[in-house]
């Protein structure tokens, strides 16, 4: 009997001990439903997926998927809002928006979403087994480019913003951050883009087409210098691009057809013209049928191809018609400029419902840029049927670089430079020559500046640069009228929710 007792006690002690010993790791449970941060970012492919998501942020509704074009077009004199325009859009057109504006908040939010994804990519590249392979270095360059792209719109439009550069892994790191002075943000952008220049390749093939290149980085860096009025640096950076174009005209340069920049396939020959040689960076949208997926517009949460943009539907006169070209632009755009009818439908235009050229019967002017209506590939009812567009949104193209180069060279007119530079006129005339227009004929800094202002307006109409240009040049009030309050509207307000959650954060003046 005694023996049995001992055995029982031993068994119990054993069981007891067994439970003690399983303590190690017993409480460490891994989520089986989703990849854990601990198991991700182990390979080059993970790194690539991560940077792809940073690109993906640009497609979202808050940015190029929808709000980006609304915000910057409505704040410029490129377009006018029509009656069905959403209420928040109306406040933009009227410059009566405040810190609660949904659109102003969305751009801010969309940019930071991209920044967070880029930060996550950059922060984790160092944890890879080999973080020096060509691909990893390229990914690093891409992430830095993207981060700069997003910060650019923040600093250029909101001024000082929180400069978040590290990965925010957990809620407790999500503490509010006050605004970082704009010059520091600019410096950070310069640093990132300088790094990216060195890390990125000249071009891509096949499946990688559309990733940021060395030239994307240089163009954005030049633009960053220009916005900071660092004209010599800007001119030097643009010059590098122009020199490359001269040496490699098939790789980089103006497209023969102006409209090839706003369609998927060329009106001229039906060739595929996205990611063309003029494009230095564009936001890629795709639909299986090149019309944009109905269910996936503006999302990056889809597993199916077909992320479309709202551009065609929102501006399309056959359906939503939220905006039209402003009367100013219609009146100012010389009829002799072929770009006018390439960008707009007007009396006498034709378009292609059902791929048969049909007379445009309206008496007003409507959007043609970035529209499938009138595109060789599109059909007349595309917009109605699919509500989305898969035409890529161009962010920087070579024509823009040429014009920015001219502006940098003509710095004196902007108040900082010294002398008239004929190279600037050459750059502008290149852009004009493409659409068979005569030279601009500028002969002094002042007339050159006027030429730049006009050329940018006509060449880059509705490409979301106008408002930034006007502000940059200090002529916004002159152009936009009294609705633009000097000292206030140069910057957008910091979103109210951000202010609410960050004690001590100061709003931009006037809001």
């Amino acid at each position: 009997m005694q023996k049995i007792h001992h055995k029982i006690i031993l068994t119990l002690v054993f069981v007891f001990a067994a439970f003690w010993s399983c303590k190690q790791g017993f409480l460490d449970k891994v989520n089986p439903n989703q990849l854990s941060v601990d198991s991700f970012f182990k390979t080059e492919d993970d790194a690539l997926a991560s940077v792809n998501s940073a690109y993906g942020a640009s497609q979202r509704l808050e940015l190029w998927g929808r709000k980006y074009f609304f915000l910057f077009d409505l704040l410029s004199d490129d377009i006018k809002g029509n009656d069905p325009l959403f209420a928040d859009g109306q406040t933009l057109a009227a410059y009566s928006f405040n810190a609660g504006s949904e659109t102003v908040t969305d751009i801010y939010k969309g940019c930071y979403r991209g920044i967070e994804r880029a930060n996550y990519t950059i922060a984790n590249l160092n944890t890879l087994k080999d973080s020096t392979t060509a691909k990893v270095l390229r990914i690093k360059g891409e992430a830095k480019f993207l981060r700069s792209l997003y910060y650019f719109d923040l600093v250029a439009n909101y001024g000082a913003v929180p400069l978040r550069t590290k990965v925010n892994g957990s809620a407790n790191d999500l503490t509010p951050m006050d605004r970082t002075p704009a010059n520091q943000v600019w410096a950070f952008i310069e640093k990132d883009l300088t790094d990216a220049e060195g890390l990125l390749p000249d071009s891509y093939d096949g499946a990688d087409l559309g990733r940021a290149t060395k030239w994307s980085a240089k163009a954005l860096l030049g633009k960053a210098y220009l916005y900071q009025k660092k004209y010599p640096q800007a001119a030097a950076k643009f010059k590098e691009i122009i020199d490359y174009s001269v040496a490699n005209p098939t790789k980089l340069g103006l497209m023969k057809n102006y409209r090839d920049n706003f369609v998927e396939v060329s009106d001229a020959d039906g060739s595929y013209v996205e990611f063309n040689k003029e494009s230095l960076f564009e936001i890629s949208f795709a639909g299986a049928d090149r019309t944009g997926g109905f269910n996936t517009w503006g999302q990056d949460g889809s597993n199916a191809p077909g992320e479309g943009t709202f551009r065609a539907i929102e501006y399309g006169f056959t359906i939503f018609g939220n905006t039209s070209p402003s009367l100013d632009i219609v009146n100012a755009y010389p009829d002799t400029d072929p770009r006018k009818r390439m960008n707009m439908f007007g009396p006498g235009s034709t378009y292609y419902p059902g791929k048969v050229a049909t007379p445009y019967s309206r008496s007003d002017w409507q959007h043609k840029k970035y529209s499938n209506l009138g595109s060789a590939n599109g059909t007349g009812d595309d917009v109605q049927n699919y509500q989305g567009s898969s035409i890529n949104m161009r962010v920087i193209r070579y024509a823009d670089v040429l014009l920015m180069y001219a502006e940098a060279l003509n710095a004196p007119a902007s108040g900082n430079g010294t002398a008239f530079d004929p190279a600037a006129v050459l750059a502008i005339d290149q852009v004009r020559a493409r659409v068979s227009l005569p030279g601009c004929g500028a002969s002094d800094p002042s007339s050159l500046f006027s030429a730049i202002v006009n050329e940018r307006r006509y060449e880059l109409w509705c490409e979301q640069v106008r408002r930034k240009d006007l502000v940059r040049w200090g002529i916004a009030k002159t152009v936009l009228g009294s609705k633009f309050v000097v000292g206030k509207h140069e910057l957008l307000p910091i979103p109210q929710t951000e202010l609410d959650l960050t004690s001590g954060m100061k709003q931009n003046p006037g809001y």
């Binding site: 409480l27 989520n31 990849l35 997926a49 690109y55 801010y108 407790n172 990056d300």
Partner: protein, 1202 residues
């Protein structure tokens, strides 16, 4: 299948019953006294007994007889002259009216007509070595081994026993039943408690009295037997189950409430709420729904968090258990640990309180079999007063006309059924347009005499029914001091009062105990299968809501040639809010949810040295949930059809494991008494699920398996697992029965916590001082007990979801390169909170226990203050972090303060005994902090307009889930009232969302005085779902065999948001209305009752979330009324084997006193996940969207014990 299972179970029950009846019958027969006898001698008359003695030696036989039967009997007898003994006996005994029977060589002599158990006698005659007659006092006392060669005389002299029955404190007890065990003899005590009874020698007397423990007393040689009866449950020696042990009720220093098991033992409990609701102070119990098997929601001492407030259920030491899947018949006791000082021993599981349930176990002694069956019916308590077809048409036309006028006849509102008919210049629904030509039954929609009459469907009558319910429970218990087993088999079938709903449960329990010297083993094994049918499409917003919307001018059936399944449907376009044909949806759909539940635990306890015990407790539970929903094709009209049959199946499996080691030591040194406990606990749970759907099934709906479906509609699966480790310790110290100290500590680690907070420590302590042991109280004679308690503790709530602390990768954000090349993606999903941890509840408690007048009256009062901090809430984060989702962080704080009072009183007079009890709870619930005092949590979404206007808000300074909306000022009576003076913007006055008001519209209060009514500035808190106090009281009375139980329960001061009225009084859609709309504003001359606005199908104002829908939620409910009759022992003895027989009738929810106009003031939880009947939100408490009503129940039952 269903039928077969039922019969199988029935057969098993009958089989077990027959065996027990047979064996028990035998026992009873044995117990009958036997009467025997015998014979003579030749010469003159001799004593018959003496003659028999002589015959014994002469013939070598033995005699057995009853002593008394042969007294004074003489015979003439000459031994020598006689030959055959049989003839001899024949001749002598017959004249004496005596008979005999030979068994082997034994003659049993007995009186004519007397029944003798010859089998027993044969059994006794075994073998022995004794020659002469032996006298025994009864047959059973004969030592069997010595009997074979012995003649037996049984003494049966009747004696008279007298005595007095008194109660515990010596008071005489009249009306006590006194029965002789095993006979039909009995009496009752008189007014002074005296009794006198003539009984056979050595009988056993049984004293029984309702409310008192029955006593069996062997009479022996005594002629005077005084008896003192003891109440059945002595309050003071009651034992309560605390975590990891038991304690005497009187010594408990924490706050523990127990269900007085007497109050539920004899009441049929269909659902757990009936065992708990209104029976304990501070324990708020609500049925989730009136749907059978809907389960309960329990809040202990208020709603302490916006997350789950489910208490921990500990069932026979295993946790977490599930009270809803338990067979309520198996429950032996329910104890609720209410405050932290009591529940802290359960660490991170104890914050919402702990409900400890102990199931029945076998006792040593004679095997018992108990069968308890009841049958009954349930009916809806209350119907809404909805309109008939003519009234409906009138209001509907009025609504459309008003909308048309508002719209200036131009703009017709699209998307609203019944609104559109621009061609005839009217918005009216064509079929209702002309009151003289309302829809009539035709040959396809009506039958016989219906044809040609106006259609007037009462949908409530069509879908509600009198539902049958039945329950059978068989408990067999047997065992001795060393091993015992209890087997309980239960079967419950409940149809729902709403057609297409029902619940069925089969359960089996095996509880065993084995003692092996110092080692004790025990096991608890429970299996149950539950089957729920629920075609109602959800307990809120499903069929019960549709019924209130369905048009009375829609016929139920339609046998038209194209009408598949024969149900009629709406003739106008549906828009998703329509009711359709509610009966059809309840009948043709096939939604079944099955649960297979198993729970097994074993424990071993070893006493190492006296007082020192080691206990190992191991257990596991599983729950396999299987849902299947089949929705067939139907065509009920051109607009109301389902094209593809769909089948969806869901399979969820959860497994839990628990291992606990505890060491306890008990020691008394002089006046010091210690009880120490230490333990180590490991727990783990795993869950996985898989679901899939298909559509397009063979015509006829006969084949309803997935393989028969043509196309898959989707499939998914998930897995979750979690684990927990803990160490615990407790000290109970008692000094001189005067001072008591309890201190607990538990340290828990959980897989749900972030690395930095992997372990939490939860201490608690409580003190008690028995004032009644002190000299200054001892002298107060009427005080029997006075005990002052105080406690404090800190506990955790780990019910925060799995994996919250670890960030995961979202691989959805992809990008398209090269025109159409879809890339892979992967980035941080929403921000995770690595510092996520338990919610902490800190509570203090002060209590007083008083018993006076010899414990006749007892009273317990408690005051508590409980604060839950670190409540997990989603927190807004700066946009610049770049995350979309809001992480959950430990930020909120909620306080509950309350006062509880519970009292019982028991007494008796004559044959009447009674007990009264009651409890009342006052709780003040207040949110202290949400996200650093800045924001609020929106609660239930109105759902009615498809909009997203929350009905409730949870904000600092207010109760959790307080109602929030506009305030009605009045119904505008005429145009001049529209323009009011405080309109600062010079506009026409109050507007909402830009719509201009007309006479008959509601004017809401302009709270901020800016001249316009808007959601941003004019909404305020308009009600609280919490009562000022809730209460329950009961009475119990016994008179002879009758007993009456009555229990009331109620709440006072709560409000209900009657969301159903959004539809029934909104008058904005072509749905049915309730009869309040007959008092609507029609014109200045017919302004109605002044509170119901005009009908307007284009309304954007009157139906705003406002206090228009707020009603008082106060109610008092006769929760239970039971009348039972216990057949007394004397009667039962005539039935032989039956030892206990009771019949009863019960009514539940029989009467409800309330002003609430909805189905039931006990709203139950609003929307809940149908796969998880326990999960409900505290944020939408008392939002009633015509929730499934709680029915009224009438039952009759029988309890039979063998």
């Amino acid at each position: 299948m269903k039928q077969r299972q039922y019969y199988f179970l029935l057969t098993a029950v009958i089989g077990v019953l027959s065996i027990s009846i047979a064996s028990v019958a035998q026992d009873v027969a044995m117990a009958h006294n036997i009467k025997f006898l015998q014979q003579e001698n030749t010469t003159p008359s001799q004593s018959l007994k003496a003659v028999l003695k002589g015959l014994e030696t002469e013939y070598g036989v033995f005699f057995t007889y009853k002593n008394a039967s042969l007294d004074n009997k003489t015979v003439n007898f000459n031994l020598k002259s006689e030959g055959d003994i049989n003839k001899l006996l024949d001749k002598r005994l017959k004249p004496q009216k005596l008979k005999y029977k030979k068994i082997d060589n034994r003659y049993v002599i007995y009186s004519e007509g007397e029944k003798i158990d010859f089998k027993l006698i044969k059994k006794i005659s075994v073998k022995a070595e004794q020659e002469s007659f032996t006298t025994y006092n009864n047959l059973e006392s004969i030592p069997a081994l010595k009997v074979e060669r012995m003649s037996i005389i049984i003494n049966t002299a009747d004696i008279t026993v007298k005595g007095k029955v008194v109660g515990e404190s010596g008071e005489p007890m009249p009306g006590v039943n006194i029965a002789v065990k095993g006979t039909a003899t009995g009496t009752t005590s008189d007014a002074d408690g005296n009794y006198s009874i003539t009984i056979p020698d050595n009988a056993i007397l049984i004293f029984t009295f309702i409310g008192y423990a029955s006593q069996e007393i062997a009479v022996g040689n005594r002629s005077v037997i005084d008896v003192s009866l003891v109440p059945d449950v002595k309050t003071l020696s009651e034992v309560v189950v605390v975590g990891y042990g038991t304690q005497e009720r009187k010594d408990v220093t924490g706050s523990i409430a127990s269900v007085d098991i007497k109050t539920i033992r004899d009441v049929p409990i269909q659902t757990a709420d009936q065992a708990l609701q209104g029976r304990m102070a501070g324990v708020d119990v609500q049925s989730n729904s009136g749907i059978p098997g809907g389960g309960v929601k329990i809040n202990i001492r208020g709603v302490g968090t916006t997350n789950s407030t489910e208490p921990l259920y500990v069932i026979d030491g295993y946790y977490p258990g599930n009270i809803n899947s338990l067979n309520p018949n198996d429950i032996a006791s329910i104890d609720v640990l209410k405050d932290a000082s009591a529940s802290a021993i359960y660490g991170v599981l104890g914050a919402n309180g702990v409900v400890i349930i102990t199931t029945k176990r076998a006792k040593s002694g004679k095997p018992t079999v108990t069968l308890d069956s009841y049958w009954g019916q349930q009916t809806p308590r209350h119907y809404l007063n909805l309109l008939g077809n003519r009234d409906f048409a009138t209001v509907s036309n009025n609504a459309k006309d008003n909308a048309t006028i508002d719209d200036n006849f131009n703009n017709f509102i699209s998307g609203k059924p019944g609104n559109i008919n621009p061609l005839d210049g009217s918005n009216r629904v064509p079929s209702l347009k002309d009151l003289n030509n309302l829809p009539k039954y035709d040959k396809t929609t009506g039958s016989g005499d219906q044809v040609g009459k106006e259609i007037n469907t009462d949908w409530q009558k069509e879908v509600y029914r009198t539902a049958m319910t039945r329950n059978h429970n068989l408990t067999i218990s047997a065992g001795n001091d060393n091993s015992r087993l209890l087997v309980s088999v239960g079967y419950l079938k409940q149809d729902g009062v709403l057609k297409g709903t029902g619940f069925e449960r089969m359960s089996l329990r095996l509880n065993g105990d084995v003692k092996f010297n110092k080692l004790t083993f025990g096991s608890n094994i429970y299996f149950a299968q539950e089957k729920r049918q629920d075609n109602s499409g959800g307990r809120s917003g499903g069929a019960t809501t549709s019924i209130t919307k369905a048009s009375p001018s829609l016929a139920v059936y339609n046998s038209g040639p194209s009408y598949i399944l024969g149900f009629n449907g709406n003739v106008r376009e549906r828009d998703g809010q329509d009711a359709g044909n509610p009966l059809r949806d309840l009948i043709i759909n096939d939604q079944i949810n099955r649960n297979y539940i198993g729970l097994a635990s074993i424990f071993a306890e070893y006493e190492i040295i006296p007082g020192l015990k080691y206990k190992l407790n191991l257990g596991g539970d599983m729950n396999i949930g299987y849902n299947r929903g089949y929705n067939p094709v139907y065509v009920s009209s051109d607009y109301d059809y389902r094209q593809l049959a769909t089948l969806n199946e869901y399979n969820g499996r959860s497994f839990g494991l628990l291992a606990e080691n505890t060491l306890s030591y008990e020691k008394t040194i002089g006046k010091h008494k210690f009880n120490l406990l230490a333990g180590y606990v490991a727990r783990q749970s795993l869950f996985s699920s898989f679901s899939a759907g298909k559509n397009t099934f063979p015509v006829g709906d006969l084949i309803r398996v997935a393989s028969a479906g043509k196309s898959a509609t989707g499939y998914e699966g998930n897995q979750y697992n979690s684990s927990q480790l803990g160490i615990l310790g407790r000290i109970n110290y008692e000094y001189d029965k005067r001072f008591y100290v309890t201190a607990n500590i538990r340290r828990d680690g959980s897989s749900r916590f972030g690395k930095d907070y992997l372990y939490g420590t939860f201490p608690s302590a409580s003190l008690g001082w028995r004032l009644s042991q002190e000299e200054f109280v001892k002298n107060i004679s009427f005080i029997s007990n006075l005990f002052l308690r105080a406690g404090w503790g800190k506990i955790g709530n780990q019910d925060i979801g799995d994996y919250k602390y670890r960030a995961v990768i979202n691989s959805y954000p992809v990008y398209t390169f090269n025109q159409n090349t879809l890339s892979t993606g992967g980035t941080l999903s929403d921000a995770a909170n690595s510092k996520i941890r338990w919610e902490t509840t800190t509570s203090s408690n002060i209590g007083l226990d008083i018993s006076i007048l010899n414990n006749k009256v007892s009273l317990t009062a408690d005051y508590f203050d409980k604060t839950t901090s670190d409540i997990l809430l989603t927190t807004p984060i700066p946009i610049s972090t770049g995350y979309d989702g809001q992480p959950t962080t430990n930020v909120g704080k909620i306080n509950n303060k309350g006062f509880e009072l519970a009292s019982t009183y028991q007494d008796k007079a004559g044959d009447l005994t009674w007990a009264l009890g009651g409890n009342i709870t006052f709780i003040k619930n207040k949110v202290v902090e949400i996200n650093g005092d800045k924001s609020f949590i929106p609660g239930a979404i109105d759902g009615a307009s498809g909009g997203s206007r929350p009905i409730t808000r949870t904000e600092a300074g207010h109760p959790v889930g307080a109602f929030y909306g506009l305030v009605v000022e009045k119904v505008l009576q005429n145009n001049s009232e529209i323009y009011y003076n405080d309109a600062k913007d010079g506009n026409s006055g109050s507007t909402y969302g830009g719509s201009t008001l007309k006479p008959g519209d509601i004017k809401f209060k302009d709270l901020n005085g800016d001249g316009k009514i808007d959601a941003a500035n004019d909404r305020t808190y308009i009600g609280s779902p919490f009562p000022n106090y809730s209460y329950g009281f009961y009475g119990r009375a016994g008179y002879k065999g009758f007993e009456l139980q009555i229990q009331f329960q109620g709440v006072q001061g709560s409000q209900i948001f009657n969301l159903a009225r959004y539809w029934t009084e909104g008058m904005q859609r072509n749905f049915n209305y309730d009869n309040h709309t007959l008092n609507r504003y029609i014109s200045e001359n017919t302004p109605g009752n002044g509170s119901v606005p005009r009908a307007n199908s284009n309304d954007a104002n009157n139906t705003q979330i406002s206090n228009r829908y707020i009603e008082s939620g106060s109610y008092l409910r006769l929760k239970n009324l039971t009348l039972g009759y216990n057949f007394n022992q004397i009667f039962l003895n005539k039935l032989h084997s039956i030892s206990n027989l009771r019949i009863y009738a019960t009514a539940s929810n029989l009467l409800t006193f309330t002003k609430y106009t909805g189905y039931d003031p006990e709203v139950g939880a609003g929307y809940a996940d149908p796969n998880n009947y326990a999960a409900t939100s505290n944020l939408n408490r008392n939002v009633d969207n015509a929730n499934y009503p709680i029915p009224k129940t009438l039952l009759i039952g029988i309890q039979v014990g063998f």
